[in-house]
Symmetry: C4
Subunit: 439 residues, 4 copies
């Protein structure tokens, strides 16, 4: 049933509503001012992305990534990058070490004959090397990017409660701890399955044999020595962390960006069905615009990392599925293998879902705008609706592909096709040889 | 030829038309009020989706799916869900039974060696298990969803005649009975072809031999016993019904949603070429919006089921096409096989066409809006046109893909590609072995 | 450099221009009226689609397709369809004959073993059978469709000269004669290559041997007899014409639709840079709308035929490319084979380009609207621009795919993929066997 | 934070800003006039595309491509095309020579048996022959196209400094010299690898042997003679240059078009956040429109060349990847081969990135328009925004595909698929045979 008669009463009610809208707007502003002061008083848990992500960055720095100073600072103003800080030196040392490792891996692979499987260590080393370089580049832009992010955050509608304020940090910390624990568990399983159930031992001592397998690219050139084995193991740990961290970092940044959009949408949701004044819509439009511009800037900064993340995940899923046809030498190997495969697919799917959420959150306001009543459908609302329907906000892989939920099916289809074709080149004898791949 | 002169006469005629439009609007409202009262007086055949789908839900409940109470109630207000009702218990029992069956199937498949063909029972059991769980979840949301649906229905233009009112119910019942009869016929054919033309009998008695084949996953573990055979057959019947019901349910919900859109479009069709007042367009826009929001909500509730439906259909079509290369052991087998294949492809195509109809019906009003005369092209019309062209209404498979008619060609192309590649791994000796797959 | 000062002079000039625009409009109308009378005086070459396509329809009727009465009538009012006319009977006889032929072909193929190559006669017969049925259905709708088409034509800007008026007919006749001559030449070449260079003669007399090969599906059941051979040859000629006519018909209808859009665009092109009154734009918009609605109606009527045309072309290109690997038994065979392949690819490409031209012509006005000066950018112009950018006008194959130029690459990519995979199943011994496939 | 109160002060400030805007506009105009005069005074480095590309065209003319007169002229007015000029004759001679070469290549390939690899010289010769013909056609349109380009350039905002003015020329010259040097290096490497490390020498003298291999298509017909060898080598050099020049030309034209869009965007960037008068937006819109129309015209003229460029690059990447599986006969061969492969992939990727930049630059203004303040969001801004979001500006390959960054992944995916399938037909014995392919 639709409104039958617009009597004068109705017009009066509308004016009242509009006044109500203005009053509401003022209240919102006041709350915002109050919230702002509150934030300044206590810097703990101010709900900013900078504070939420800092523990994860500290861990990354332990492994030589993201050498930016002041990650534990209370606000983003404390961030800085210096070429001469010890963090940068440590990071450069790390890059140098894995470059050497990569060279040895290339040398080892070239003596085997190139195919899908023997290039595995090259792809593994190469992608992490490239990512490390990208993280170094990112570290230079990080302070400025975080300051922009903080500026965008400060202009958004304030948090209503402590619970809401802690939400972002809690989400980031839980995702990070789950992913890092699982990757640790996968690494330990790989060690156990290698040490205790060695099929073709390369050396008599099981630990020596394991070290030999881990650092086989060195021992292809140098004679066996324990310290070189432990060095290889150390590098292997650093690389494995780096490999997991690429995906984790992309997920966390996406969570942060989605959160910004959600905050704006939540406010919109409450007010959209009342006739609001033009000023409110200008506010919403400019806020939305500033978030979108931030997303574009973040994308420029991290799209190289996103590209590596997706590319290497697709490659390793193809490879592991190809390996899955082989018979497993022992139950321990089978347990490790299927855990590792499930972890890999799960991690890749999470990256895709979290990153594509940015695209979906950015479309949400369009659906809300369609609920604006005719009396409140001012020219600013129309402009916002037009802009929302014409732009296509999402993170991307070097702008070669946009990450949306649709991408999942395309990627899955390609993997199935490649898999079917690859299986034909499958040689059984190569399976489960004694060189432990990337563990 | 275009209007040459806008004389005063013309303006007067336009005013008359607009008055006419308002009078028409009032008449429509009145008829609506009348229709509303009529509906309240006789609840039989009130043309609502709830009443139309109730017989199908009753059948589903006999097979342990959708344990919601009050499906035979006169209005959606009678619906409820309780964890402790016997329907829920029955449903949980059903899920438990097929879980056990799935475990036995996995165990049996693992002892055979994994490939496209041996995973068939796992995919079959697994997809129905997941779907049953989804139906249980859906049952909890069903009462609220139906009430929302009824609210949307009550605000739509009323039916003009008894015939129109019965249309939805008749369509749903005929589609359901055709699909269920065909699936029954397919199942009977599978039994006949198995019992009378056994190639390699596993036991002497033909019935025992059939039961052995049907419940082979049990007899791989336990010794043969008749009661276990009949239990296996019972589970097999339940599973086969569930498998057909997934597709049927998705089709029926799509018919219901398309019907809502058609009702709105039909009214629009009659009035679109006259200059109608702004209020009419606000009415149309808010009605259209409410239907679209309902579609989004229904999609959230059933997109998991849609995903399983499409996924399992693609898998089974690939598998059956792969089997089609084998030589058939007897004419009876050939008849059954090609009937089964045709039924499978027909059913999958119907799902796609019925579900994609929602997308097409949602686009129809856009074409009608282009016929609005310039004098009646008010700002609300323009807003509706903008909103229609910017949103992309359709059901989806977990939002990974939208179901539109274009999807058909993509899926067909993929099936052909996979088929061509799969044929290469085709081993003839495995064909038509004595384990009747999913019949 | 942009307009620096809008002095009063300029405003006066603008008013003059607007007056000029109105005068121009009147002149256009007058010319239209004149043209209309002229058209009524001489019905020969009135530039209508009905008159232009009539000779092609006459030829089609000789081969039993499109049994509509009055195709030679002066206007579309003379068209009619009757179930009892001798044309319909002839057409039904034709469909009956090729149905029998198809049954024999299926029987013959089933005794060979199904693969990509042996199903060739089934696909060939089946697609023409389906198309004939579609043409019969189309014949029933044809009179009404042509009358609607004539109505749309009568409201378009009139032709400026005799030359322009003849353009459509000349284009249709030249395309039809080129395509039909080439198909005749291809058929003759196939006879020559078969008769004179028989590799494995089935009978001693070369003509008998040829007839045996052409009607092999009959002689698989019946003993050889000359009259059955000639009957088979007659059916073969009818089928080959039908096969070419499917593509030709789709091309000619597309030319007609494109021509309508071109006429409107040509007028727009002349007037778009002057400030025209609102009435002019209402005229353009409603004219454009009526053409688009005609395109939708034509698509509903012929999309089944378009689907067959594209589907069978893709299948036969795949098949011929697959055959191209075989060694040719003689130069004559090679000449025929490559001519046939080139003709097939050329014909398929023409269908795609002509049909996709409809889509491109329908987009043209959007580009012209962007040249409208600011003073002439009235609300009707904006509405037209919005409508043009939101709808997606094109012919389609049963709405499963829209025919645009982009489709070409998708199809070519698929053909290459399938070809590469198919080559693997290629058995050389089957190549160039003595059963001449579809010639 | 959003503007809380629009006091009178604010309105006054807005008026001031608007006045400021008009003053700014005048200043811009004046600077433009000054710049124009400056341009007329010194024709050297006037920043026009015509002057920037002229050295590259001169080089092309040395190799018989683009026979247009007056490429060294100071302005585009000096350009002309004559059928009887010696340049045209030279070009026709060139086309004649490579046509003969192509015929010999086809003859040679036909005696080998057709497959992916033996058609290499045919594809190589054929694509360059077609491109040469396209360049000849383009030469006829070039003078007019350049004059239109100059007209568009003259209406754009003038350069601010000498540095900016030289930017286009410097960019074009550096890209051209890098690409041509690399192609020269690749050609020399191919000679070295062929001459010094001949695996199976066809003649005793290494130079003779090399000439024999280069002109093998001739010596298949005629007996060996030195002058024919050198002629073959000359043709080979001409073809190799032509092959590289196709890509280079497409890149340079794209740089020119992107530069036009960048100039407009740069001005917009400075002024977009101030409230500018309507006239400014009319200026921007018509300028943007004129660039887009130029892009469409350029696309019509060169899309054939773009098509060949993309098609031949995809073919040769597939072929070289296929060859990469073979064992290399010597280190020199390996160095040459991987350099050649890297150069090919790098060149193809550059073409794609440079051409797709046109599409991206054309979208940039849309993002800027979203920053226009509400007070400056006039109807012209809205019109420009609508037009920008509805048209899809990009260069294309015969309009079969638009060149955007997304194309890259599609092409890469296809190459991987084809590669995987092709590898199966790989015969090792054919690898590195003694006929040097296209070097």
């Amino acid at each position: 049933m639709w409104p039958v008669q617009i009597s004068k009463q109705r017009r009066r009610r509308q004016q009242q509503l509009q006044q109500h809208g203005r009053a509401l707007l003022k209240r919102v502003e006041q709350r915002q001012r109050w919230a702002w002061q509150a934030t300044n008083r206590s810097d703990l848990h101010d709900g900013s992305f900078h504070v939420a992500i800092s523990p994860v960055l500290v861990i990354a720095q332990c492994f030589g990534l993201m050498p930016v100073c002041g990650v534990r600072a209370a606000t983003s103003r404390g961030l800085s990058f210096s070429r001469r800080s010890w963090r940068t030196c440590y990071s450069l040392l790390y890059i140098g070490a894995i470059s050497f490792d990569a060279l040895f891996a290339v040398n080892f692979a070239l003596h085997g004959g190139l195919d899908m499987r023997s290039v595995e260590p090259i792809v593994f080393n190469g992608s992490i090397l490239w990512a490390s370089y990208q993280f170094l580049q990112l570290a230079r832009q990080w302070p400025q990017l975080m300051r922009r992010w903080a500026r965008v955050e400060s202009h958004l509608p304030p948090y209503a409660s402590w619970k809401e304020r802690e939400q972002l940090a809690r989400r980031i910390h839980s995702v990070a701890s789950v992913l890092l624990s699982l990757s640790l568990m996968e690494h330990l399983l790989s060690i156990i399955s290698s040490v205790y159930h060695k099929v073709c031992p390369l050396r008599q001592d099981p630990v020596e044999s394991y070290l030999y397998a881990v650092a086989v690219q060195f021992f292809h050139v140098f004679p066996y020595s324990n310290w070189l084995g432990w060095l290889g193991k150390l590098l292997n740990v650093l690389l494995t962390f780096g490999w997991n961290y690429i995906d984790l970092f992309v997920i966390l940044v996406s969570i942060g960006l989605s959160h910004l959009l959600t905050r704006l949408t939540r406010q919109l949701q409450q007010l959209v069905e009342r006739p609001m004044p033009e000023k409110f819509w200008t506010y919403v439009r400019t806020r939305y615009r500033s978030i979108v511009e931030l997303i574009y800037d973040v994308d420029d900064a991290i799209s190289g990392i996103t590209f590596i993340s997706f590319g290497s995940n697709v490659y390793f899923i193809c490879l592991q599925l190809l390996k899955s046809i082989n018979e497993m030498p022992s139950t321990m190997h089978a347990v490790y293998f299927y855990f590792s495969l499930a972890f890999l697919i799960g991690r890749s799917l999470s990256v895709l879902l979290f990153v594509s959420a940015v695209h979906e959150r950015a479309r949400d306001p369009l659906r809300l705008l369609q609920l604006v009543p005719p009396s409140g459908y001012l020219s600013e609302v129309q402009r916002l609706a037009n802009e929302l329907s014409s732009d296509n906000v999402s993170l991307s892989g070097l702008r070669f592909f946009n990450v949306t939920r649709k991408l999942c099916l395309t990627v899955a289809g390609s993997i199935v096709t490649y898999e079917l074709v690859l299986i034909q080149f499958h040689e059984d004898e190569k399976s489960w040889d004694c060189q432990a791949g990337k563990q």
